[in-house]
């Protein structure tokens, strides 16, 4: 084959740090690979409502799953990343993520005509003395002002979004990030974390990519959920919790991701737990677990460990049962999961 290599643009031909690491990891993990047949899965833990226990559940499932399966972990809650607090990670790789730009007006060139403020639909341009100034916390980087400015006084400058990390933990590699406070682009940083986690998971043939998701239903959640085989929704048995569960369920359905529900602190309001169960029945969503309120959860958090380290605690016992019910989903060959009748219903 005749070949020629021409580079139409400058390309860094050195293998990326990630690439080199992948090679080492692949060699190391071959010996640990499970012999069971499996298909590679991506699960995301969501809730809608904040504070229902996503991170607690993610860390526990990771702890239990890692005994027999090869995992990659990702914390997609990039502006309030808590999973690392339970896994004692060692950061191996760190990257600055600069995405998007914000507008900047050169005061020397600005003529004070105010056209920029007219076209800005985000309230990001304010008058300052005789000139105009961009509020970087409001600017979304659309560049409408830059295209419009008659004096060509506006340029787009890099807006550092955050940092993302690859760390090693006892349960597997962990991808996580820290969004610089108030940044516009948490969804994009989530995508960055997840894509890198997925790339590694694919390269090493991990059985499961487990993603700790953010609260809400908007773009960070959508970014965390895209490509998932299963969404595990952690529900709170309260009027608010049921309301919010309904919206996150609508969201996962909208994006075509199958969901299962588990109720956390299930015993604090049996009437509301029954509401969760009824909602699941109406929506034909499996209810796969119920975790009782247990002060061990906070104790484990204070000691920086998954609560399943406290094996006989009520929460740990319930989480072990939850994992047993979820494990068939890991083996399932189809997107629909295992036989719907399998798994315990509360």
């Amino acid at each position: 084959m005749k070949q020629s290599v021409t580079l139409s643009s400058k390309v860094d031909t050195a293998k990326s740090t990630l690439g080199a690491t992948l090679a080492r990891l692949t060699a190391r993990v071959h010996s640990r690979r499970s012999l069971r047949t499996r298909s590679r899965k991506q699960w995301v833990i969501l809730s809608g409502k904040g504070g229902t226990g996503k991170t607690t559940v993610t860390a526990a499932l990771a702890h239990l799953a890692a005994r027999e399966h090869q995992l990659v972990l990702a914390d997609a809650d990039v502006d309030a990343a808590n999973l690392e607090l339970l896994l004692s990670p060692t950061v191996v790789e760190e990257h600055e993520y600069v995405d998007g730009k914000v507008a900047a007006i050169d005061p020397q060139l600005c003529t004070g005509c105010g056209e920029c403020a007219e076209v800005c639909r985000f309230g990001a341009i304010v008058a300052e003395g005789l000139n105009y100034r961009v509020d970087p916390t409001a600017c979304g980087g659309c560049a409408a002002c830059r295209y419009h400015c008659p004096a060509k006084a506006i340029s787009m400058v890099d807006s550092p979004t955050g940092r993302w990390f690859r760390s090693e933990t006892k349960l597997g590699p962990l991808f996580h990030a820290r969004l610089y406070a108030g940044q516009e682009s948490s969804g994009r940083l989530v995508t960055q974390v997840k894509q890198n986690a997925r790339l590694l998971a694919t390269e090493v043939g991990a059985d499961l990519l487990l993603i700790d998701g953010p609260p809400g239903i908007g773009c960070p959640v959508i970014a965390a959920t895209s490509g998932a085989n299963l969404a595990i929704l952690v529900a709170e048995p309260s009027v608010s919790g049921v309301h919010d569960l309904e919206r996150i369920l609508s969201t996962t359905r909208h994006f075509g991701v199958p969901a299962v529900v588990c109720v956390n602190k299930a015993d604090i309001n049996p009437a509301q737990t029954a509401q969760v169960k009824a909602l699941c029945a109406t929506q034909q969503v499996p209810l796969v677990g119920a975790i009782p309120f247990d002060t061990t959860v906070v104790e484990a958090m204070v000691h920086r460990q998954p609560v399943t380290q406290y094996r006989s605690s009520p929460a740990a016992v319930a989480l072990q049962a939850l994992w047993r019910d979820l494990e068939p989903w890991l083996e399932a060959e189809t997107e629909q999961g295992p036989d719907r009748h399998a798994g315990r219903h509360v």
């Binding site: 904040g50 108030g182 609508s250 604090i268 958090m301």
Partner: protein, 291 residues
């Protein structure tokens, strides 16, 4: 006076505090209270207050509509779109409204006048009274990605501009420390950060303080909810950082029970009303005292 209630970590008690404060201050006639539920992805305030919602308005952004008769397929619209919401290939123009931020650049920069803009619905605003509270909320449509336009519109729509006296506007913020929180906090007079005394609460509070105080230059005060449940990390941090702790709500099962049943805690357990009045006076003093 505009007080935003945020947290960093989810589930710490923002809605608890916002609804409690609103109810106590309005019922006692201590202020003309406007409560805005800015958690447009998962608004909960209405569940506790049962407002009569009389005003409604749709929120939309303007997305491009291409007149193919005028289009020359030059591709300039796709070039200027920062969000790649347009693609021009051969004699076709594709638009991706879900990526559109509604900035209007494509329409403005088209040399052939081939692009007009049409509204794309993102959500809904609703307002009405709950007792003496003037209540408003935003509700982002399921499947939409961006909460910030809905929050921005909600604040424009519901925060009184010209008003007699000095009404108290309470903004119940979404969880986290990202753009929807910034949108809520921007322009406020004070940020009240609700946290729980645990490592998760502390970790996220530190970011929230940086966001409110550092980025947005707002005075900040902390409310510790479920005091006693975890460790002293939050207390230590607040002392080091010079952030005042303005209220401690103890770990009280009765609050959890009222909350989970959808009942207003300050009605179920009236002993908490006076601490909330005190909190309001503390916040007023903090703002009055300047930074």
């Amino acid at each position: 006076m505009i007080v935003a209630i945020a947290s960093g970590k989810g589930g710490t008690g923002k809605t608890l505090l916002a609804t409690g404060l609103a109810q106590v201050l309005a019922a006692d006639g201590l202020a003309t209270v406007h409560l805005l539920d800015c958690d447009v992805e998962e608004p909960n305030d209405h569940l506790f207050l049962s407002p009569t919602l009389t005003r409604k308005e749709e929120v939309s952004i303007l997305v491009p509509k291409i007149d193919l008769a005028r289009c020359t397929f030059c591709g300039r619209c796709a070039q200027v779109c920062t969000f790649h919401a347009l693609a021009v290939v051969q004699k076709k123009v594709l638009t991706f409204p879900q990526l559109c931020h509604g900035c209007g650049s494509c329409a403005r920069q088209c040399a052939s006048g081939a692009i007009s803009e049409e509204p794309m619905r993102m959500g809904q605003l609703e307002a009405g009274d709950a007792g003496k509270i003037h209540f408003a909320q935003g509700l982002m449509d399921v499947g939409q990605a961006m909460a910030t336009p809905v929050i921005r519109r909600l604040k424009q729509w519901a925060i009184p501009r010209e008003a007699e006296g000095d009404p108290l506007v309470l903004l119940d913020s979404p969880p986290g420390n990202a753009c929807s929180v910034v949108e809520t906090l921007r322009g406020s007079d004070f940020a009240l950060l609700v946290t729980e005394p645990t490592p998760f609460g502390l970790h996220d509070l530190e970011i929230a303080v940086e966001l409110a105080r550092g980025e947005l230059k707002l005075p900040v005060g902390v409310v510790v909810n479920r005091d006693g449940v975890g460790d002293h990390g939050v207390d230590d941090f607040c002392a080091r950082a010079g952030v005042p702790i303005l209220l401690r709500i103890p770990l009280d099962r009765r609050i959890a029970e009222a909350y989970s049943a959808g009942a207003l805690w300050v009605d179920a357990i009236p002993e908490y009303r006076e601490p909330l009045r005190r909190l309001y006076r503390e916040v007023q003093a903090q703002i009055g005292g300047g930074q």
